[in-house]
Every structure is written in C-alpha cells, then in structure tokens.
Amino acid sequence: MPKAGAGGEQGDAHSVAAYLVKQLKKKGADDVVVSAIDEEVTQLKFVNSIISTTQSWHSGKLNMFVAIGKKLVGTSIRSISKSAADDAVSKILKFTAAAVPNKEYEGIAVGPFSYREIAETYDKAITELGETAVDLLKGAIGVASRNGVKRAAGVFETTVSSSYLLTSNNVESEDRGTKAYFSIRAFVDKYASGHHVCNSRVLRKFTPERSAEIASAIARQAVNPAPAKAGTYDIIFSPLPFSNLIESVGRAASIFNVESKLSCLAGKLGKRVGSENVTLVDDGSLPNGFDSAQFDEEGVPTQRNVLIEKGILKTYLHNSSTARRYGTKTTANAGLVTPTPFNLVFEKGNFNKEEMIKEVKRGLIITNVWYTRFQNYEAGDFSTIPRDGIFLIENGKVVGPVKELRISDNLLHILKGVAAVGKDSEAVFGWEVETPTITPPILVRDVKVTKSVE
C-alpha cells in the first residue's frame, strides 16, 4: 500500500487502520470498518478520431464506517497519518454524540474469513502499460478508419488499485486489481453511428480493435435511416442495451431498494418475475469480472448468487445487517448501507443472431439505449431511448435502418417477454451501464415503442 496524503507524520495504511479501530473501540464504538483504497487511473479521451485529452487520477484514502449505540456514520481521511486518525476519531465522536440511532441496524460480519484469489483480476502488463496505451488506442482508431468510419470518439482507460480492510469483528483482508476499459462510438455521418464497449482485468483478453470493428459495422449499416411507426415490436437487444435494462433489475434486487419502494421485485420472492429463459446471477467472485473483488465492504468473501432462476426470483441482495433483520444469510453484497451487485451475468442460451432474426415477424434490432427513466420503480414502468443503429426486421429479415423511436414499457413485462437468448455473451461496462454486466443478445416479444407526435 503506497503512502498517500500529506500533513502530519506519515504512516502506512495498515498501521493507521489498526490504530483507528483500536482508538474507536476504546472510545465506545460497537463496530468499526476501515478500508484503505489506493487507485491510479489513466484515461485517453479521443474525439474526431484523435486524442483530445489525456487524464490521470491518483487517490489514496481511508474510509471508515462506525456504529456507536446504533448511531451510524461514515467518513474518510486522505492523509494517512496518526494525527489525521486522531482528528477523525474526535470528529466521529462529536458527530455521533448528536446523531440519531438506526434501530434497524444489526451489526457487521463476524470473522475471521478465509479468502481465495480470484483468477484474472490482476495483470502486471496493465500496470506497465504506460505510454504504450497510445499505440493500442491508435490501433483501434485505425481499425475504425479502415472500416469506413468518418470519425470516432470514446475513451481508453486503465486502473491499478489496491485495497485493505480491517474491522473490529476480526476481519482483515487485502486485494489488488487492474482494469482496462474501452468505449468507442463510430460515425459514418451525423445520423449513422454505432457504439461498442469492452473491458477486461487482464490485457490479453482486452479487445479494443474488435470493439472498433463492431461499432464501425453498426455505423455503416445505419446510414440513411427511415422513419418508423410507433406500435408493438419484437425486439432483439444487443448486449449493450440489454445490460442497461439488466442493471435496473440488479439494482431492484438490493434489499435497500426493495424497502425504499424503488424495486419492481418487491414482494415477489419465490414468484415468477420473468420467462423460463431468464436466469440472472450476481457474481462478485467471477474470474475476470470487471468489479470482482475477494471481499465485500464488510470483509465477507464474495460469492455467486442466483437472483432469478428460470424466471423465479430466488433472493435479494443483502449485507450482514439486513440479512439478520430478515432471518437469512448475507449474500456478501455489502454496501454497508446499500447492498449492491458486483457483476451481473445473464445466463447464455443457444440462439445465434441469424436464428433470432428468423424468429421475428415484425421487429427491431436495438444496438444501444440511453436515458432510461422510470415513471414508477415499484411497478417497473419506464422508457428508454435507442441511440446508434436501429434496424427494422420484417418476416425474419433485416429490412434496413430506422430512427427516432422510444421504448415505453415495463421492466417485468420485458423479463416475461424474453423469448430467445443468444449463445455468445459480451461483457458490458460503460457510461450508461455502471454495474458490469455480461449478457448475450436477447429477443423480447411485444415491446411497446412510441415516438414524437406528428
């Protein structure tokens, strides 16, 4: 763990974390969780097929979560020193003295736990990438240019991080990680574009040139889009837009959102929420998972949780406190306040793209969506806007590109309408999909599509 910060005597994060736990316990804290996070991110942002900005971020901090008589507080220090820790302890005590208890709080996990390293979450090659990232990006932009694209925009980003966690309940754990992420939106003209993203924790599985090729192909096919009618369509969602919807399902599975009435899965445990074709997993221990980590925010080893199995809702996402309240076990998804998914995985099926298209009499291929907003989270009523190539299907054949449509439907109706599942998955993370999601293309029947009034 590198040293970070300034001011006062410098210490290493492990000893300052231990000091914080000890001091806070001495002063009457019931639970203390300290996590030290150090992160270096480098980004190349490109616009009009050339680099517009290079960016780098470095941050190092100690996060603290403290419970004193069920009064809960979170804070952090950026200066990793004993004097900063003393200052934090005194502020925490002052703050909690005038706070109000959370009577629902049931404590943090009790350790010790044993951890296993997750495959393909750290790659020295990413830490050593440095300025050669420019060459990788140049290669990807070159692919787009050779594929008939007039201009491309996006980001090429790498992250190197380390984390250390210590709690007052006999938990101590440590992890490190690397990440690479690429997003490219390719334009043949202002109204003909395609978008693709890729991510990996290891460099050898990182495929920006493939993304450039896919984005370019969508853009080329999207030239001269025709107006289309509003109505009901069968829709083949590419992995990018379906991830956007699946992320909403993943968030709805958090018990925090269920309690807040921000979930269409509330009251549906053990009940059907999707078609037989829907199996959705959250897996914090997934090899090469973009947000995989050995432990959650209270130090519980991460695990694979089946959220929806063949259409039946199997579990909500919990931390130790919420699990105790509901008489169940933690799913290792702390979030000390809000249990959160790590990597959502929609189980593969056996359709290839051509077979899926043949299934459709009147439909659309949607390659991207954005601006998903809900009228009612509990009911699942939402709309979202396709962007980039949209393609009309008639009688099992792709007719051509169309434009300016909106999906105005219901999340549960979408899950129940899943009629075919592709056999090739893609890993999605990006501007519109903050929870890493792995999904194949999905065919959904009878989706309501609207458009601006004439």
């Binding site: 900005t53 971020w57 950026r78 300025e131 939106r185 202002k190 501007w431």
Partner: protein
C-alpha cells in the same frame, strides 16, 4: 492571493501549492497550465421510512492540474497535497500528453482577460453551526407531516446534504480566483398506495447559501401537499384527451424542458462532437446560431450569476468572468455555451461556461442556471384562455434522445382544463414531441418564475454538477398527447 480581495483563504488551503503546480509544469515544458486547488466539506443524511441511515461527513481536498504539452491537452490530479505528489502527477501528465501528442489534437484557447478576484456566498444559518440532530430534525418533521396526511405512503425516502467548497484557480497567464460557496441539496422520493396500485414522485431542491435555504423551502408542508395531490390524482384521475389540445405547463416542466432541449444542445462541445461517446451530440451545428427555433414568445438564457442559485459562480473554472448568456431570443438561436477551447475553434470568445465538479475532473462546457424569461401573463390567464387542454403541475418520467431532438415528459400531478378552468385530475398525460415543434408551439409565458434544482450528468468519468432550471408557466398550443 487574489489582489484587492477581502476574501481570505481558510487556514488549511495552501494557495502556493497551485502556484507551484503551474510553475513546475512550465519548467518541464508546458506552454500553458492551470491549477484548481479545492477543499469541500460535506455532510449527508438519509431518512428511509422514518429510520436514519448511516450519516456521512467528509472533507475532500485535492488539486487538479491541466497542461498543454507539445500542443496537446492533459489533466492530472491528486488528493495528496504535498509538493512531492503534485510534482509526480504533473510529470506523469506531461509524459502521457507528450506521447499522446503523436495522434493528439492541437488545442488552442481563446484569448481572454486575466482576472484576479475573490468572492463568497454568505450563510445566514451557518452549516457548521448545526448539529447532526438539528439537521435531521428537518427530515423527521417532514416524515411527521406526511404521516399526518390520511394516506398510505409506504415509501418515504429523503436525502439531504450540505457542502462548503473553497476553491482557488490559478493559471500560467496570471489569473487568480478564490471562491467560497456553501450549497444545500435535498431530494425526496415518495410512494403513495391506493386501492392496490402505487404512484411515485421524486423532486430535488438545491441552492447556494447556508442552512436557511433548507428551512425556506418548508419541506414538511411541501411534501404533505405532494402526498395529498398524488392521492387525489390516483382516486379521481381520468384518461388524457386524445384529440389535439392546448397545454399549460407549470415551472417544473418549463424548467426541465429548457434544460434538456435548449441548454444541452447549446453546449458547444456537444455541437463539436466532443461528448459524442458519452452524453451525445446536438441537433445544432455552428451555423445554427441566428436561425429560428421557436415562436417569438420564446426567450431563454443561462445565467451563472443568479444570487443563491444552485449553479452559482462569478468566474468559471478557466477564470473567465461569468455573465447572462442568451440562448434563444424571440425564437432565434442567440448563441452557444463555450469554454476557451470551443470558443477558439469557433473563433469567438468564451462566455464562461467551463465547469468541473471537483478538483479531480477536467473543466468542460456546462450549464449553470437555465431559465425561460418571464412573460406578462398571469398563470390564471393562460388557463382561462384554454377551452380544452391539460395543465401539467409536475412530472415523473422524462428523457430525450442524445441529439436533443425528441423528448418525453410524463405528468404526475396534472388536470384537465375545461372551458378555462382546472377540472378533474388526469392520469399520466404524456408529452412526446420534437424540439422545434415544442418551441414553435409555445405562444405565451406567464410571470410566475420558479427555479428548480437538478444534478446534471455529463462527461466520463461522470461529472454530476449542480444546476438550476426554471421559468414561468407556458402555454403550448394545439398538440396531441402521446399514448
């Protein structure tokens, strides 16, 4: 230190670190450098169904340095406020930017005046003077007020934060700006249940100032009223009319419309494709300025200098002096929002729209407070002038495509207008309309300006920035609702 300023830096902020950063960048070959040294103290509280969640307090400080090396633009930041750390990140940025310059854009900044200034927003009730319990009391009072309404409200989620940001901007051209801005932010999410179905409402309030801004909004009364209106809507609402009708939209709707379909597409970086892979582009092109986009009743500005506003600033994050900017004047596009980079490309001057959410983000073109200018009518007069129509008090679901051409706004509290009077509530009337059609159909504005708060998203990594949007009630003639 800014010259001739009575605003002094807080003890913890070492302004010389910013000077060191830009000097050091110059020494290693940067032709331009700016530094933003910032410290933000924040307190956050959440009350979920009557139970306080973990509260948070923090002080986030760091420095962001922007350099031009070999003609290319680079940005680096650190929260380690030592010269050693600053030197390291500037060197890293220089290396990477030099390497990128092989396939990098050659950046130019418009020539702007050098400014030296200091300013601050006063607090009548200082954020630091109230205990967590005193702040939480607002949320408990709101909870109590909702409980007093005869309604089933199973979801009651309130979030309240206060921020105090001290920021020092310095660049290699000699600009030096020190600012101290406190802000408050409150949002709620409620779920009302009636006869087996639910309706939900979300809204946000924010301002620059002390805790008095929270008290002034009177959240207990406001939320109790919201619950009553939602319940009445659920009990009595009829379906919206199918024929073409006139609409009267209240300031909340006006606000979201000017933000989404005027503010965003007028951001010059979007027009130039610089946000293409993130928040998207714009239906406008540089030649759109001076062309007609709406009726003569449409007058829209963006103004960072509105006192007490959520998007308040007097100098932007490139040190350019802020002022009111006309986006649409009498239906004609008045201009775009610029930073120094976009204005250089389009051979104009920056109008002070460069903003970053914190020291750790690059400064890009943003709105501040986007407002439809008031007209001379009373809202009642607009309603009285409609034979058959719908009045939208507020909305829930909304979105717009990434070129800002097709928007959707679904009403929450809405009423039928019959023969010039508000009649029965209407269930989820939906406006789904193109931007030119919308602004052409607006034919009158009232004088009841309201400002509403939002946290606007753009850039990668995401920069969620405080803004106001607002204006008066508007009349929109002869449009069909969407179903």
């Amino acid at each position: 230190m800014p010259a001739k300023s009575s605003v002094k830096p807080d003890d913890a902020l070492d302004l010389d670190l910013a000077h060191f950063a830009i000097d050091y960048a110059g020494k290693i070959g940067a032709s331009y450098a700016d530094a933003r040294l910032e410290a933000t103290s924040v307190n956050g509280f959440v009350l979920k169904n009557g139970v306080p969640q973990a509260a948070g307090f923090d002080r986030v400080a760091g420095i962001g340095v922007r350099i031009v090396m070999k003609g290319s633009l680079g940005f680096a930041c650190t929260n380690g406020l030592s010269r050693e750390n600053v030197r390291a990140v500037v060197e890293k940025a220089a290396r990477l930017t030099s390497a990128a310059s092989r396939i990098g854009e050659k950046v130019k900044f418009s020539d702007e005046e050098t400014n030296k200034a200091g300013y601050e927003v006063k607090q009548r009730v200082k954020l630091v003077d109230l205990s967590p319990k005193e702040k939480l009391a607002v949320l408990f009072d709101t909870e109590k007020a909702i409980k007093a309404v005869k309604a089933n409200v199973p979801g009651r989620f309130f979030s309240m934060s206060d921020f105090y940001t001290e920021k020092y901007f310095a660049n290699s051209e000699g600009s030096r700006i020190l600012s101290k801005i406190p802000r408050t932010d409150f949002w709620y999410f409620i779920t009302v249940e009636e006869a087996g179905r639910t309706a939900q409402r979300y809204w946000q309030y924010g301002a620059a100032g002390g805790f008095e801004t929270i008290y002034e909004y009177k959240f207990p009364e406001l939320l109790a009223g919201e619950v009553k209106a939602t319940l009445s809507n659920m009990k009595k609402a009829i379906s919206p009319p199918k024929e073409k009708v006139d609409l009267v939209v209240a300031p909340q709707i006006t606000g979201i419309m000017v933000h989404e379909s005027v503010g965003h597409p007028y951001e010059a970086d979007r027009v130039l494709g610089r946000e293409a892979a993130q928040a998207g582009e714009s239906f406008l092109h540089p030649g759109s300025v001076g062309t007609t986009i709406g009726s003569g009743a449409v007058n829209i500005v963006d103004d960072p200098t509105i006192p007490g506003s959520f998007g308040y600033y007097l100098y932007d994050d490139e040190g350019v002096k802020a002022s009111e900017r006309w986006l649409i004047r009498k239906g004609i596009i008045g201009g775009l929002l610029h930073n120094r980079e976009t204005s250089a490309i389009l051979k104009t001057k920056s109008n002070g729209a460069a903003r970053a959410t914190g020291y750790d983000r690059e400064q890009i073109v943003r709105m501040a407070n986007t407002v439809f200018k008031p007209g001379s009518y009373k809202e009642d007069e607009l309603i009285e002038s409609v034979r058959l129509g719908v009045y939208f008090r507020n909305f829930m679901e909304w979105n717009i495509d990434d070129k800002r051409l097709n928007a959707k706004y679904t009403g929450a509290e809405a009423y039928l207008i019959r023969d010039g009077r508000l009649a029965e509530p209407v269930w989820r009337p939906t406006i789904e309309i193109s931007t030119p059609k919308l602004w052409s159909a607006v034919d009158a504005a009232a004088d009841n300006t309201e400002y509403h708060a939002g946290t606007c998203g753009k850039a990668e990594p995401m920069q969620a920035i405080p803004v106001w949007f607002g204006g008066p009630s508007l009349r929109i003639r002869n449009v069909r609702l969407s179903f």
